[in-house]
Symmetry: C2
Subunit: 180 residues, 2 copies
Amino acid sequence: MALEHAILVSLLEQPGSGYELARRFDRSIGRFWTATHQQIYRVLRRMEADGWISAEEVAQDGRPDKKVYSAAAPGRAALAGWLREPVEPETVRHELAVKIRAAAFDDPAALISEVERHRESHAALLARYLHGEQRDFPDPGTLDPRQQLQHVVLRGGIEYERMTLAWLDDVLATLHRLAR
Amino acid sequence: MALEHAILVSLLEQPGSGYELARRFDRSIGRFWTATHQQIYRVLRRMEADGWISAEEVAQDGRPDKKVYSAAAPGRAALAGWLREPVEPETVRHELAVKIRAAAFDDPAALISEVERHRESHAALLARYLHGEQRDFPDPGTLDPRQQLQHVVLRGGIEYERMTLAWLDDVLATLHRLAR
DNA sequence: CTTGCCTATGCAACTCGTTGCATAGCAGGA
DNA sequence: TCCTGCTATGCAACGAGTTGCATAGGCAAG
């Protein structure tokens, strides 16, 4: 399980409450690791019990109190240990690929609008990534190690979206050919 | 949930037993949808109860009997309905990306061998895909619709592996730079 | 002033997915 | 001969992940 580790990384980059973490998972981190607020709260409680993170109650005015978590030494140690473990192969779940093969037993044209929706959302995401790259890494020559690592992960996202767009165009061309 | 649909597609392409399906999921289909034999048997029983598939006992000599399943009309209808539903956004779980960001809080060099292992397995997979493409689609001009759709999914896998290899090289270059 | 949304946390119930184990006959190699 | 491994299915238990709902104050728009 790596949700704990993803949370640790996020807390090391910046301490925060469960709610804030949930929003980070919706945004940046969520592009390579998703989690709902339920999962996050549950795991935070477990990690606090295990001493991986420490919490501080913060009163806010006009809002409910929040518990701000930070990574503690045992958490850092656990993360370092995990880094050295061999990784499990990523389990891919590509629903669209299943649908494309399913289209052979139905009307391929029925998939076209679906694929176009995907294409649009990937194009929007690519634009967001490129914008974020311009904003956060305008001068790639002067980055500290943490930023260099964040940047290389972002480049992965960018290349993934570019490749996906090209592939979806290929898929659309195939579907249009079959629809004729 | 799409495991049911992935199984339906597989059974439409070729009827088979739970065990055979499990092996298909280990091989071709498993690259975009994974499942263990336990999941498969459980879902098969449910789908049979729902009338989506029908089973036939087949005696074999020298081996245990097997139940060969085929997709039934209600299953095909369910698949067609699913095809027309808007897709849920794919939930990505990219453990290596988490590790790369985690490396900022530990020794980046500790990740190098891990990334190299990944690189090798992606290179091997790409080789397998390319070999499969040569074998199954030697003449792309003369394919029936089903093969065209299988081929476009395979092309997606090939492009994904190529992009991933290039990105992992980028990651390795970054890690080596930081290790100095 | 009411409706709906945002912050912030949580319970309960459920489904999905994994792991370990069991059975049971047959084939092949050390 | 014993051990390993393959075919074929399944139970039991657990852990991961989702969904629906609840609370509770504040803010902004209609």
